[in-house]
Amino acid sequence: MNFKTKLGLGILAFFTLIAVIGSWIAPYDPSAMGDDLLSPPSGAHWFGTTMTGQDIFSQVLVGTRGVMVVGLVCGVLATFLSILVGVTAGFLGGAADEALSMLSNVFLVIPALPLIIIVASMLPSADTVLIAAVISLTAWAWGARVLRAQTMSLRRRDFVEAARASGESTWRIIVFEVLPNLMAVIASGFVGTVIFAVMLQITLSFVGVVSLSTWNWGTILFWAQSNQALGQGAWWWFVPAGLCIALLGTALALINFGIDEYANPRLRKVRA
């Protein structure tokens, strides 16, 4: 494991910790209004305050949980769907493959963002879990495509043929012979899905289609934007949340490079 991967894992561990303990260590109630209106970062308010005197540091800390929960839930759900569709298509081949790859390509080509915005704004209550489910429904297709290609290359290998010859059932072959060989691809697909889901959730919060009653980094940006934080020069209102998103995204991407390099040795750094 190289330095980049360790750095990525470290940052991810940090945000996971904040997601768990964030609401306990937050110095203020993130929704409570205070007397310091729109004040820049100071000892009392590390990240400054909003127009109504809310503490932005506390909002970021408390909001971490929403972001991580959606990332995790979508990662698990969408990865499950992508294994189901991708491995089945790749292993069975024929008409089932045609139909399933058509399905995943349709999901890939249709622009997900406007579709999800429509669904989310039609839902009577767009809370965190519901949004996570909706995102998962659009996030599985890329993973399914990659898994299908990889499964097809495994399908005719000797060990699979041997298992087939010894009379193992199709599902047993898939679960015990094929899946273990796909672990690197599945892991990298999982990480990619988490990035996608986190970005999408923050975007949806930012445009205001997600319930604003729970905090996440996107809601902070929504309030900053709707109160014209930019025009008033209140950079501290939108910089911390954005940097957290970028840091988390970079961490996950670094972990993914680690997985890629593990799976494809040609990508490893050459020592000049």
């Binding site: 390509n105 349709v106 080509v109 406007p114 429509i118 445009v207 954005g242 970028a246």
Partner: protein, 326 residues
């Protein structure tokens, strides 16, 4: 030609799926937001507009779902997408036809720039593996991890608020009338700089990375070694041997990542209040204007499909293997 026929058929199926999803969503999800809006507008809707909203959102409960579906296709065939509540009483189709050119211009040009720039940088980064170019990777990773809209916010804060160099919002200066004059075109270009750079910066990283990894894989192939042994110039090997083969996955990936890029570009339009589809969608969200939102979705899907078809034709020209069976 079979390749193009297959792709064309696939895009038709995708379009059908998108339209059918648009038809089903308001009928499947609970609540009746459009009915509420019609009640609110009351007598200001004329009977024609009312009829088309009933068709589009399935408010006529006496009809079977199949009859509704047929009526829905009929309305679409007439180009009738209902009335916009936000821009009442303008039809959605008119709102869309005004904003579509802005999006096509901004997103089209920036996507092509990002693709060319990213692919070129990727070629170099892959060719010169182990040099300082490797440091490009973590930097671009960080840039691509920043949400498009947040980068736009930062760009506005730095280049419009702190250093007032460029306009922060709109598609052209207030007071100008859209026309083919030097002044107007200059103003349009000036307004496109910040949103354009934002889109390029956040989308270029993906192309660099994909291209670099393919270059690294391809340069290890035997035919590249043979080209070296023949003593061909470095430039020739890099572009005619390695890059030409390495670019193929990028082009087929172009088609699939376009939907994602367009989503990001719509957000940039929202942040910059750029008069394209993204900003229209944003205004629609605020007003719960479902006819408008669904119209935007359909038009964007159609645009993405057309762009995909163009990318396929490019692929056909670059990869002779797809032509052989024809």
């Amino acid at each position: 030609m079979t390749f193009l026929l297959r792709r064309g058929l696939f895009y038709l199926i995708t379009l059908w799926a998108a339209i059918t999803a648009n038809f089903l969503l308001p009928r499947l999800l609970p609540g009746d937001p459009v009915q509420a809006m019609i009640t609110k507008l009351g007598g200001r809707l004329n009977s024609d507009a009312m009829a088309s909203l009933y068709i589009l959102f399935g408010l006529d409960e006496k009809k079977s779902i199949w009859e509704q579906y047929v009526d829905y296709w009929g309305a679409l065939a007439r180009g009738d997408l209902g009335l916009s509540f936000t821009f009442f009483p303008t039809p959605v189709a008119d709102v869309l036809s005004q904003s579509l050119p802005w999006t096509l211009g901004l997103v089209g040009v920036t996507t092509i720039i990002a693709f060319l720039l990213g692919t070129l940088l990727g070629v170099y980064a892959g060719w010169k593996r182990g040099s300082w170019m490797d440091n490009l990777i973590p930097v671009t990773t960080f840039l691509s991890s920043i949400p498009y809209f947040w980068l736009g916010l930062i760009a506005i804060s730095v280049f419009s608020v702190t250093f007032p160099l460029l306009p922060a919002s709109g598609g052209y200066a207030a007071g100008l009338v859209p026309e083919w004059s030097g002044e107007f075109i200059g103003s349009v270009l000036e307004h496109a700089v910040l949103p354009g750079i934002t889109i390029v910066v956040s989308s270029v990283a993906g192309w660099i990375l994909g291209m670099r990894n393919m270059m690294v894989t391809v340069t290890a192939e035997d035919y590249v070694l043979v080209a070296r042994a023949k003593g061909l110039s470095q430039k020739r090997i890099m572009f005619a041997y390695a890059a030409r083969n390495a670019v193929l996955p990028s082009i087929s990936g172009f088609a699939l990542s376009l939907g994602f890029i367009v989503g990001g570009a719509l957000l940039v339009e929202m942040v910059f209040s750029y008069p394209g589809l993204g900003y229209v969608l944003f205004q629609g969200i605020g007003a719960k204007d479902y006819p408008l939102m669904q119209g935007v979705f359909l038009v964007i899907t159609l645009a993405v499909l057309v762009a995909n078809l163009l990318a396929d034709i490019g692929y056909l020209l670059l990869d002779p293997r797809t032509r052989r069976e024809g």
